[in-house]
Amino acid sequence: MTATAPTERTGTEVRLTKISKSYGAFTAVHPLDLTVPGGSFFALLGASGCGKTTTLRMIAGLEDPSSGTVELAGADVTALPPHKRPVNTVFQSYALFPHLDIYENVAFGLRRRGIKSVKKQVGDMLDLVQLGDFARRKPQQLSGGQQQRVAVARALINHPQVLLLDEPLGALDLKLRRQMQLELKRIQTEVGITFIHVTHDQEEAMTMADTVAVMNGGRVEQLGAPADLYETPRTTFVANFLGTSNLIAADVLDASGSDLVLQAASSKLALPAERCTVTPRTGGRLLIGIRPEKISLTHADDAGTVPDGRNRVTGRIATSSFIGVSTQYLVDSPVTAGAAPLAVYEQNIERDRRLVPGAEVVLHWNPGHSFGLDAAQSIEAGTDAGEGT
């Protein structure tokens, strides 16, 4: 396979088959099958050291897999060195050549493939990333955001079949990061190239990608559309790593109906059976999960106003913090059995002045919003407290 640009713009499918990487006794990536559909914006999400960057580098050819194969559009490229693969990378901290100016950085790939007249292409590309006036500057004279755009331009000008992005926005401040997220998404939609994006920022992954693979300890924990991952996490790691989840250990009282009946402390809770990732057993245990923003808070004095059919749990507000769009509460409740308090995010529409620390409250939610997980897992996986375990 040669490094010429593909003429079609539908994007190339990337297929990893039983790919793995070990360094001595340490296994960075466990044998993994992964198919990235052509033209998709695909995110590999995980904490540092989870194997996401190693996976990306194996696709680029910068790391030789210990086993398995890499296929681009059906062709096996496992044995090809990086310079013969029709993929390009936007590196972490950009790796712009400090001895070349912006123009030559962007032209680098074209020149290596023996293309003589690069002027028009480079000019167009610099205009696309709005850096036309900076062609003769050196990389170190540019701001972080500008360098990032050069890195993208330098990769995209080659019309790669797949663009790999290794934490491309990690070095930018929050505001610029938001802006570049949208910018990258726009470029991807425009050029239709398959993007594979490695990040540890779950918000970034969800904003940009159509498909997110959550990696942990060298394995893919779950893969799917951002909304599916968020609404129906399949493991405690995913539940905690993607946003915040309240996980409550509960006994299964009745697993026969379409709604499971669970008990945590003295509260009876309902959970639709199809929102449960394990086959529940009467008498067994489950983790019931609920996102903080799906819980409503009602002061204990008004407990009677809570509609029927909602799961309800009692508690006492431990802390509250006002953050503008919402107020975030931590609520101590008997159902947590001494574990972390329950988090509740209330939108600031009508604030109940009685909801202050110390207040007795009822927490209630639509059972269809909760999800059930295998109780054999660590409840803290994927949280800050669970890190390093």
Binding site: H83, N88, F91, A95, F97, P98, H99, F108, R112
Partner: protein, 271 residues
Amino acid sequence: MTAPSGLSRVTRWLRRNLVVIAGLTTLGYLMLPNVIVTVFSFNKPNGRFNYEWQRFSTDAWTDPCGVADLCGSLSLSLQIAVWATLGSTVLGTMIAFALARYRFRARSSVSTLLFLPMAMPEVVMAASLATLFLNMGVTFGFWTILIAHIMFCLSFVVTAVKARVMSMDPRLEQAAQDLYATPLQTFLRVTLPIAAPGIAAGALLSFALSFDDFIITNFNAGSTVTFPMFVWGSAQRGTPVQINVIGTAMFVIAVLCVLVGQLAGGRRKRS
């Protein structure tokens, strides 16, 4: 509070500028011999030694090669320095890359072997190498000097280049490969240009060390006379003014080169 007296004001000023005064004094100490060398290049000494000021003359400047063997030894020193620089830079750069970029066995032994020549008095190395040459029956001369110079310059080149390569982001080379550069192109277009300042520093250091070396050359030159050996000999036989002329000229040329380089660098940065 009362106004400080004159004396205390002086001591306060002295205390505040102590570092500046001490630093500039040291600089004076460093520069003084060069000033003397330059001044005495315009001397017209009585007798063979140029140690006492007699009267102003430009004789030596108009006839710098007027002393037998002086310019011959100078040209020999320059030749040796060029070849020693070339040899030690190539060999040293290769070692530096191996150390900075690869893991291999015997790494610590290699580091020790590189460190020892820098941690050993020159006279020990000089005598040892001369012993080897004597035992092998090698004729002393140009080649033995060159071999010796490459040997002791090598470690300095490795140190200079290694520091530069270590501080270089390995992702730059990966980026080049990712952008279709073959391993050779990656080396020529990315690695080499970025490592160039380190290599240049190593080469410059080699040149200076080789050109100015006396002790090792003294043991391994046989009857061949390099410029430092000429100066050494003249300290016994009589010091011609031309030595000062050449010393001054080298100083001026070097400083001019550095200044031009600085100006060019500064202009490039500004534009």
